[in-house]
């Protein structure tokens, strides 16, 4: 039985990854799951310098999911390299660093610092809805996305994954722009912008007013977008959005995802990632599937 997948020349022992920002750099969940069992750990967004993030309240529960407006708090690439990357290098799993920035230069600064480390790939976050500058603005305009992708790709010694925002009219156009700009892969979806109002206190629940929605509630939108992109580009796709179980993961793969990531559901079930790995194997046995690659995009 083969569960290995390959994205841009990087081989993953299985398709299961962690969604950026929901798993720290693996440390916090290493007491629940064996990181060695995962295809990859995708880190929280890393910037060129420390970012304080947004004021609290930063998280809110919504029906079948949550909103977050963390605002990309992170210690910056130097601390990241020294501590988090060092920690991760103890494990036999691929490391994908999620990169954030407020300008192309900031993204490139992170990429350049990490170029000679053991990081396997970069995931470029051009889709965070919770910071004012950069980020999502880069991910909502195909021309800008093309440009940003091209510049980062030029600076990068590792394959780059462009992480797309679902808050767009045509996800296909964004995927094509990323591909044209030289992206080695795309990942989707980042969170969908949402809002929650406390009707008793008559206030926004989040200090940031809006937040990014994630969790099972967004899964159908994510699956649809993965499907659309799979039919629009030929680079591999990492699918995410509400994955809680192996069944969810397989739904994404059938729609066209090569890799899959578990996000918010780590909070609900800290064992989720390992369970998804196991569940995919069970599905393969049940359906007599020798090679997981055969189900990628099998429904069309």
């Amino acid at each position: 039985m083969n569960t290995k997948i390959n994205i841009a020349g990087v081989e993953f022992k299985n398709p299961v990854m962690t969604a950026s920002g929901t798993f720290g750099s693996g440390m916090e969940y290493s007491s629940f799951v064996d990181l060695n069992k995962l295809g990859a750990v995708v880190t929280k967004g890393v910037a060129s310098v420390p970012w304080p993030g947004n004021p609290t309240k930063r998280v809110a529960e919504v029906y079948g999911g949550m909103l977050n407006a963390i605002g990309l708090q992170n210690p910056g690439v130097d601390v990241f390299m020294e501590r988090d990357l060092a920690f991760l290098s103890n494990y036999d799993t691929k490391v994908i660093v999620n990169v954030c920035g407020k300008s192309v230069e900031e993204y490139i600064a992170v990429v350049e610092k990490l170029n000679d480390t053991k990081v396997d790939m970069y995931e470029i976050n051009v889709s965070c809805p919770n910071v004012k500058e950069g980020a999502i603005a880069f991910g909502q305009n195909a021309d800008v996305l093309y440009d940003v992708t091209k510049k980062i790709k030029e600076a990068s010694k590792k394959p780059i994954i462009m992480k797309l925002s679902p808050n767009v009219t045509s996800i296909k156009d964004m995927a094509k722009a990323a591909e044209a700009g030289g992206a080695d892969a795309i990942s989707l979806i980042n969170t969908i912008t949402g809002m929650k109002i406390d009707i008793e206190r008559q206030t926004f629940v989040l200090a940031n007013k809006t937040g990014g929605m994630s969790g099972p509630a967004i899964k159908p939108v994510a699956v649809r977008m993965v499907y659309e992109c799979a039919n629009a580009v030929s680079i591999p796709i990492i699918g995410m959005g509400g994955i809680a179980t192996a069944e969810d993961a397989i739904e994404f793969m059938l729609a066209g995802a090569t890799g899959v990531a578990v996000g918010m559901m780590n909070f609900v079930n800290p064992y989720a990632t390992e369970e998804v790995v196991k569940g995919i194997e069970d599905y393969m046995i049940r359906h007599n599937i020798d090679d997981i690659n055969t189900i990628i995009g099998a429904v069309h």
Binding site: F23, E28, S31, W51, T56, R58, G65, Q73, E82, F267
Partner: protein
């Protein structure tokens, strides 16, 4: 930095091992816990006892996440450990919304889904031989009970004063505090004990605190921080914030700190893992 990174091999295995072995991560699981009893002890205040394997590792001031059954409400509800023994965990909480309302319907024999043990808890060793003032306000009172009991049971000090602030005469848990320490009551409307907040109650009591440990609403904690800094008393306060993961991964639950936090180096510590108990001087509330 690059140099340090290159030398990462053995040094960082150490880090990893340290992480896994760190005292506070001795018990960290999501488990089903059987309900031993559940009762209303005051209007909207419930007392839940669970058969919980993590109880033996619990520290006063730690908390657990309790998950609603509802598929619509996915996040855990952080509830402080009120008290504990080798096998059982006691949670005392106020019904304020969906989750706590759902928990209030639990019956003996049902089960609750618990993620724990979370957070650092109060460091009882700091209290050795001192005059300890415990301050609890409203639903911040329950965790102070476990602390009072621990101080007594472990013989850390026998000079413990609990200042308990209620809204009105409808008190709860105060009888149990009386079994383990000196109790001073206060109420917002003056129906019982001191008429006013616990800080003023402490001031007017004549008790001279060497160290304060507290949990309660933000205005009370601010008052304590201000008072303790003025009097140069050590104060440890337990904070609350909206949480998603409870384990330090999501960065949802931060509090502004006066010093650089060790995680993100941006003066934003995570309440769930770096707290919920902080040295009052360290937080900018």
């Amino acid at each position: 930095m690059q140099a340090r990174l290159q030398a990462r091999g053995p040094a960082h295995v150490e880090l990893k091992e340290a992480w896994r072995k760190a005292d506070k991560y001795m018990f960290m699981k999501k488990v089903k816990a059987e309900v031993i009893s559940s009762k209303m002890i005051e209007k909207d205040i419930y007392d839940l006892c669970l058969n919980y394997e993590g109880a033996k590792d619990a520290k006063p001031g730690q908390f657990v996440g309790v998950f609603p059954e509802s598929d619509a409400h996915l996040l855990m509800r952080p509830i402080s450990i009120c008290s504990f023994d080798d096998k059982t965990l006691r949670l005392v909480y106020r019904v304020v919304g969906f989750g706590t309302d759902e928990f209030s319907k639990l019956k003996e024999g049902d089960s609750a889904i618990i993620l724990g043990n979370l957070g650092n808890g109060f460091d009882v060793d700091l209290c050795k031989g001192k005059t300890v003032v415990l301050m609890g306000g409203g639903i911040g009172i329950p965790p102070m009970l476990g602390l009072a009991k621990t101080l007594k049971e472990k013989g850390i000090t026998d000079d413990v004063h609990a200042f308990l602030g209620y809204r009105d005469k409808n008190t709860f848990l105060d009888k149990e505090f009386e079994e383990v320490c000196n109790v001073h009551l206060a109420s917002d409307n003056g129906e019982i004990g001191f008429h006013g907040n616990v800080v003023d109650a402490l001031k007017s009591s004549g008790v001279k605190a060497d160290i304060i440990m507290a949990c309660g609403p933000m205005p009370m904690l601010k008052g304590i921080k201000y008072y303790a800094e003025g009097e140069n008393i050590d104060a440890y306060i337990s904070l609350e914030e909206r949480m998603a993961c409870g384990v330090g991964a999501c960065l949802g639950c931060v509090v502004k700190t006066t010093k650089e936090d060790h995680h993100s180096h941006v003066n934003n510590a995570r309440i769930c893992t770096d707290g919920p108990v902080f040295d009052a001087r360290d937080v900018d509330i």
